[in-house]
Symmetry: C2
């Protein structure tokens, strides 16, 4: 029932708390983790609009990709060391939408998500991406609290 887990991460504190939880899920029968990072297409647009004209955008984008790739590899290493099979997936889109699409296309058993993302506003009891995933997911969702 926990065989293949979808683990979306935005590299926030709560997302790393989810990582600890997933490592423990191995004892519950988890074999495989689909590690997903969604590059928010609105952030890409904003970066392109607000980067000074004389800057080479492709260089900015490359640095960005390197940073994501490093963070993904380090999470994947931790999962692999715990004995889990990991598939990395980086896509550009609207986060909640891409998470639901991955959940559907990759036929995961369930999704484990943090209650909050990077914009961890104290007054919000649930982050907006998490809320949309919980509402719209067709599969069970485990919500890890901040």
């Amino acid at each position: 029932m926990f065989k293949k887990i979808l683990y979306p991460t935005d590299f926030s504190d709560v997302a790393y708390k989810v990582l600890d939880f997933i490592v423990q899920l191995k004892t519950a029968g988890t074999k495989e983790v689909l590690l997903l990072h969604v590059i928010d297409q609105r952030d890409v647009y904003n970066m392109e609009q607000h980067t000074a004209r004389w800057t080479d955008i492709s260089q900015v984008r490359k640095a960005w990709d390197r940073e994501i790739s490093g963070a993904m590899d380090s999470i994947a290493d931790e999962l692999t060391e715990a004995g889990l099979k990991v598939t990395q997936l980086v896509v550009c889109g609207i986060p909640f939408d891409s998470i639901l699409q991955a959940e559907d296309e990759e036929d995961v058993s369930l999704t484990v998500i943090g209650s909050h993302g990077k914009s961890n506003i104290e007054e919000m009891l649930l982050g907006s991406v998490s809320e949309k995933v919980i509402r719209k997911s067709q599969k069970p969702v485990i919500v890890i609290k901040r």
Copy 2:
């Protein structure tokens, strides 16, 4: 990590789907289930207000209690047969509030809840009790979809 589970039920279809999930959780290490039903205090008030004057309210209440007790026993039997230790708890209160109180006082590992309760309105992607529990819980919550 799944040792002691809080399972709140309002005897709705989705709550019975949660039951099937919890039975499977045994293979993930679940030993003990706290089976909770909250009698909504607003329903009790409404019943008392709208019951005809010549009816003995205590009799109505007794019939109600018998019905709840039968439903709880039948769920508990299913969990016991699956090899799980079950504690039944019936309280009168505001559902989400009593669920959060039980979660806190009984020191459960996590809560498994259905996405919808009895008022399973098609347009609503998440029931109001589930939504409040997910938002306010201090522990991980597994949401089982309708």
